[in-house]
């Protein structure tokens, strides 16, 4: 009991779930835990899990903030596609300053986020529809830029965003970690996190308190757009090309899933970026495990859904209560129906 309480209890179950999924590989494919140093970088399946989860992690960081304000951003997948298209086309143009191209990519994210945020906070349109518009149209825009083709490029400097390594780790991992730390500092070392949470919990009361709720809502969409743009550049760099149709397709759902596995409520309010990252790792570890296991791919979705439900149930205090009650028999639900329905 003691040791459990020493550790922030919210972290316990997600971490246990992650560990269980990783440990499954011990049985399925022992190579999974093999790590080696090759060409100046760490190499192995565990590194792959981190590397492959980078885009989703970036989206999930932005998504956490958006969800905390009670919103949702479905457009991030499309933003990935647009960013990729813009960068790939610029790389094939006469511009050869990488930093300029990266800036252009980030600019795309900011514009997309600003549009979403504007629709939500200034036009009062429901987030899911406001961002659905860009989700649909955005891929069209990306295809328009790419003229329907996959635009490839040969630029080792830009490609290194996706395939290079920094400090012996794949660069996407390092970039994501950097952005995570930045975001965490931004929300927790300032009062931004508090304001975001307050705006999500009770926007009316928050605005009566003098919190600029609209501006905050607007800015979280911008941040989400920015994160998506970085993810878009990583994905583009990774395959040396911009695939307007498939880059980041349905990735928004994974990002939302990660945020919820991290314990956040889609109704807004409390959020935790570290927990969200654990959620992302759970999803990616699951995907990598499925690929490594050699199971017929037609079972992929079935397995994925069962794992999700299991993790959710594990996190549910009620199930734990029931299990405890099953063993202790004389158990009564600690919190009643009403209390829980408030949350």
């Amino acid at each position: 009991m003691r040791t459990i309480q020493l550790f922030d209890s919210r972290f316990l179950l997600p971490v246990v779930a992650l560990a269980l999924i990783l440990l499954t590989n011990l049985i399925l494919s022992p190579e999974f835990f093999h790590l080696e140093f090759k060409d100046g970088r760490l190499y192995g399946s565990l590194v792959d899990v981190l590397n492959r989860s980078a885009p989703c992690a970036l989206l999930a960081i932005g998504m956490s903030l958006v969800i905390a304000t009670g919103g949702i951003d479905l457009s991030v997948g499309a933003v990935i596609a647009i960013t990729g298209a813009v960068c790939a086309n610029l790389l094939n143009s006469s511009i050869d300053s990488i930093s300029l191209i990266v800036l252009a990519g980030l600019f795309v994210g900011v514009v997309a986020g600003a549009v979403n945020g504007g629709l939500v906070s200034f036009f009062g349109i429901q987030p899911i529809v406001a961002t659905l518009v860009l989700m649909v149209a955005g891929r069209g825009i990306a295809q328009l830029i790419n003229d329907g083709q996959i635009v490839t490029f040969q630029n080792p400097a830009f490609a290194s965003i996706g395939v290079g390594s920094i400090f012996g780790l794949p660069s996407p991992v390092v970039i994501t970690l950097g952005i995570f730390l930045l975001a965490q500092a931004f929300v927790r070392l300032t009062a931004m996190g508090l304001f975001i949470e307050a705006s999500g919990c009770n926007p009316k009361a928050s605005s009566y308190i003098g919190i600029p709720v609209r501006t905050i809502k607007w800015s979280v969409y911008v941040m989400s757009g920015l994160c998506a743009a970085v993810a878009g550049m990583i994905i583009t760099a990774d395959i040396h090309g911009a695939d307007a149709n498939n880059a980041g397709l349905w990735l928004e759902l994974d990002a939302i899933l990660a945020v919820v596995l991290g314990g956040a409520s889609l109704a807004g309010g409390r959020f935790s970026l570290p927990l969200t990252l654990i959620g992302v790792l759970i999803i990616q570890a699951m995907t990598t495990t499925i690929i490594m296991s050699g199971i017929d791919p037609k079972f992929n979705l079935l397995i994925k859904s069962l794992i999700i439900v299991t993790v959710l149930l594990l996190q549910s205090p009620i199930l734990r209560g029931q299990i405890r009650g099953f063993f202790a028999r004389k158990h009564k639900a600690e919190n009643s129906a009403v209390v829980e329905s408030q949350s």
Partner: protein, 309 residues
């Protein structure tokens, strides 16, 4: 009144008025698909046909809606590139009732009634799988540990290519598919899956060849193999389907070994058949195949020069 107009339509006069043809395309999910759409549009423009293009975004219901809307608009003929093989009978019956000829291009439709369509300009996914397998068996002498990058689970192209490939290699006892996962027809998924395969198969030492259901996944696999420090095209052979321009470049660079062509130029024969029918010809064959060959590294450079825009 549209249906009335259709009934009065004088097929003999089509030279005076531009033909209106509705084309229902699956979507734009790959660059092959886009080249296909572009080729049909270019062909229509060349012939002065008024082409009504409709993108179904990979959804059959959208295609059916589009066809029904073509019927409502009273087009002269309809060309469909179906997203799946099944489920077309009700809407084709409607087209037939309205007297509008339908040409099926690319994938097949499962129909028991030949009169529902004018002709089929077919690509044969099973045959593509066979061709890829035959090439690979020849190149390796029938001894090979193959990893397979499948297309989207449930997609006809994936199922049929897999079946055709398996059919051929089943005759070679020393050739077997050791791993198979879906790369969802995309470059990045192809790369991700290949990365995992390489790790699961002793850093790739176990793998003799990659068989990818389309070029995109093959290109993704090339990146993964290179990053693992191996030499794609030599240490691990790569064969795929589609013949998009990028794969020729990869072949020319020695990164992949072979691709089975799936010709995107199906517009010409389709319009030929329609024009022939509308001018009164009735003995149009029910199946017109546009055959694609297997391309290898030898001709890759010159093909690339021909195909890149």
């Amino acid at each position: 009144g549209e249906s009335g107009k259709q009934a009065d339509h004088d097929h003999g006069n089509q030279g005076k008025k531009a033909l209106v043809i509705g084309f229902s395309q699956v979507g734009s999910e790959s660059s092959w698909r886009t080249s296909f759409s572009e080729s049909v549009k270019a062909e229509a423009a060349r012939r002065g046909i008024d082409l009504k293009f409709s993108d179904a975004q990979q959804k059959q219901e959208n295609q059916i809606k589009a066809i029904r809307s073509f019927i409502a608009q009273g087009v002269d003929a309809i060309v469909v590139a179906p997203v799946v093989e099944t489920g077309w009978k009700p809407v084709l019956v409607e087209a037939k009732r309205a007297g509008i000829p339908v040409v099926i291009v690319d994938r097949n439709m499962a129909l028991d009634d030949d009169s529902l369509f004018l002709t089929r300009i077919a690509s044969d996914f099973v045959e593509e799988g066979r061709k890829a397998a035959r090439w690979l068996m020849e190149a390796t002498g029938g001894t090979c540990n193959i990893v397979e990058l499948q297309g989207t689970v449930g997609a006809t192209a994936a199922i049929d290519r897999m079946a055709g490939f398996k059919e051929v290699i089943s005759a070679y006892p020393d050739a077997k598919i050791i791993r198979s996962q879906t790369g969802e027809f995309t470059r990045s998924k192809g790369k991700e899956v290949m990365e995992a395969f390489l790790k699961a198969e002793q850093g790739g030492k176990n793998i003799c060849a990659v068989w990818a259901h389309n070029d995109e996944m093959a290109l993704g696999a090339v990146l993964a193999i290179k990053e693992a420090g191996l030499n794609p095209g030599k240490d691990i052979l790569i064969v795929s389907v589609d013949a998009v321009p990028d794969i020729f470049k990869a072949m020319a660079d020695g990164d992949t070994n072979a691709t089975v062509e799936l010709s995107p130029h199906m517009g010409g024969p389709a319009f030929d058949a329609i024009e022939a029918y509308l001018s009164g010809k009735r003995d149009i064959p029910k199946l017109i195949t546009v055959d694609g060959g297997v391309y290898t590294q030898e001709t890759a450079a010159e093909e690339y020069a021909k195909r890149k825009k």
